[in-house]
Point group: C2
């Protein structure tokens, strides 16, 4: 088995931004990286060959969704998620914690985990650290996440304290469970908007010891500044030589701000979800391609983009497809949006490599204020 | 402009099957050929690059649908349908006659055409030979079809007689209208199940003179034998050196039977439509991939198929995607089904080339009786 782990290969002077290499059982990931969400074993509307062409490095699989459909037996029969979905590059799986607390109904939390009813057919399922890690072992992901409780926003102090304590006990148990060969395990810093809880949680996770550390419970409706504050409260207490991952974040300028604060990894459903609603991500902000003003427009979805959609089709055509509900319309926009974020991250890595991340961040802020 | 027209390059002894080359303004088509339906300017769920990879030679565009959405002005702004949809190979457009009589509401037929209400938003539209040919000129298709009335099944003799007379007057007017540069025009033989009407219609169309001849009003619910009888009543009265096209047919063994009777071209929505309903076309008949029995199946959708879906994914995975309503599921099955028909036609052409079409037809009949 190849050597695994994380290495910072370049720090950008004057900022927290850093270039890293994350070695996994299915290849090397260059960070900072945006990971595409493939909830049910597919990044919606895309094939593995598309992802390679678009520069996607890591696909995220959702333990909760895959547990319900197709279930562990079907995945096991295929020999794991990589083989099942035909993606032989790195996969990160979440623990299902977030989904249990956001999607499932009539849940009951105990020390061992959470009893809930499936959002598909209502049948009762139990998911805790043991069950989550067992499912992630079956999935065979390169990176497994600990089972945690994701706090809502807002959340009062006593609730947050209790929850962080639970998350830490579950983190310790998640680490003790058996893992797939070569599977790395990341802890998750919770604590809501309470800086001291974030710090305590981070310190305790580091004491337990994980291959990487996520910052969870952000991008859940709190103000943008509160999100950066949560990152700032967590990062200084995490090891320099471990990757840091902000979960559920995919807005370009927000990712740049987090990278400036030392974050290495991101994931979000935004690029694929808004594509299905007819919205393109561009360097100047989001564009509603369904709008009537594009009916005759012979330009590409985004000038200067190198994706298959922008190289071959006009806004007029893509708008027509979207207006008619044609699958190709949302597929072409998905291709563009995934490429747009991957290009953004690649240019960010170049900026760090060439010690000009400050300028990149400044431009990212300017583009945001234009939209 | 390159020379255009049709050439029979090989006749298979003992059958009516023939190998042909159809030269168009956008390249040469090898016949017998199955054409994929791209109703609204996209073969549903597929990109032009997919079609090239799958061996699709001709895309069919629907004049009726494109007239309503996006409308002629948007297509004209792009410089025609080829540029609009990014497909620079041959395009055949139907005339809209079939759709007016099957989809539209509250229609009124006059000598000039048909007044109807859009099936989308109810607005009133008039379509006759002049309007259809003008739209097909705007689309810039390589092959335009005359505006005709497609008879339903069953249809009594007086109605059929009256309709054939109307179709012939519209055919003559369709030929007189101006066409796009290099655009070929095909007549359409109607006549329902009445052999003498089919013969009379064919003879009159030949007298008017067209670049090719379609047999319409088949595959509209009549028994399979009645369909072959309609083909047999029409083909002998059509020129040997012009292509013959059976409209709306895409069932493999039925296409083989028609080729045995001298037919060169086919089109049908079947491969893409049934893919969206979870059904795979295989050499042994249709297979419902959604069926529970495939839940753990590690084989491809069809053994021996060379398509991207069959080379990379299992029935288990495709079934899972279909069960979850994932776009990728229907896209992968669409890829397979389009490839399945293109492979079937390519093997049929090889059989004709090698003078063993009889054996190909016999095998096609055997496979059908197995299903």
């Amino acid at each position: 088995m190849r050597p695994m782990g994380f290495k910072v290969i370049k720090e950008c002077s004057g900022t927290g931004a850093r270039l890293g290499l994350l070695e996994t059982a299915h290849g090397t990931v260059e960070t900072p990286v945006f990971m595409d969400v493939g909830t049910l074993g597919t990044v919606k509307a895309l094939e593995p060959r598309d992802l390679l062409e678009l520069g996607t490095q890591v696909v995220l699989g959702n333990t909760y969704h895959l547990l319900l459909r197709p279930g562990p037996d079907v995945i096991a029969a295929a020999g794991g998620l990589h083989r099942f979905m035909g993606w032989n590059r790195p996969i990160l799986t979440d623990s299902g914690g977030f989904q249990v607390f956001s999607l499932a109904k009539m849940r009951k939390i105990t020390e061992d985990g959470c009893r809930f009813n499936s959002h598909i057919d209502g049948h009762e399922v139990f998911l805790g650290p043991a069950e989550s890690m067992a499912m992630q072992r079956t999935l065979g992901s390169d990176i497994a996440m600990v089972f945690d409780e994701c706090l809502p926003y807002p959340c009062d102090r006593p609730r947050a304290e209790k929850s962080v304590a639970q998350t830490l006990r579950w983190a310790a148990r998640s680490k003790e469970e058996p893992h797939a060969d070569g599977q790395q395990v990341f802890g998750i810093v919770q604590g809501g908007v309470y800086d001291d809880l974030r710090e305590a949680c981070a310190r305790e996770l580091v004491r337990i010891g994980f291959d990487g550390y996520a910052i969870g419970g952000v991008s859940v409706g709190e103000p943008e500044e509160a999100m950066y504050k949560a990152v700032e409260a967590s990062v200084p207490h995490l090891p320099k030589d471990a990757p840091r991952y902000v979960m559920g974040l995919g807005v370009p300028h927000q990712m740049a701000e987090c990278v400036a604060r030392g974050v290495d990894m991101f994931d979000c459903v935004i690029p694929t979800r808004i594509a299905r609603h007819g919205t393109a991500i561009t360097r100047r902000g989001n564009v509603a391609i369904k709008a009537a003003k594009w009916a005759y427009d012979q330009g590409p979805v985004e000038e200067g983009c190198d994706c298959y959609c922008c190289r071959n089709f006009t806004r007029s055509y893509v708008r027509h497809l979207l207006s008619c509900g044609e699958i190709l319309g949302l597929r072409l926009l998905t291709i563009h949006n995934v490429r747009a974020l991957n290009r953004f991250m690649a240019e960010m890595r170049d900026a760090i490599r060439e010690d000009r991340f400050d300028a990149f961040l400044a431009e990212s802020r300017r583009n945001t204020s234009n939209t």
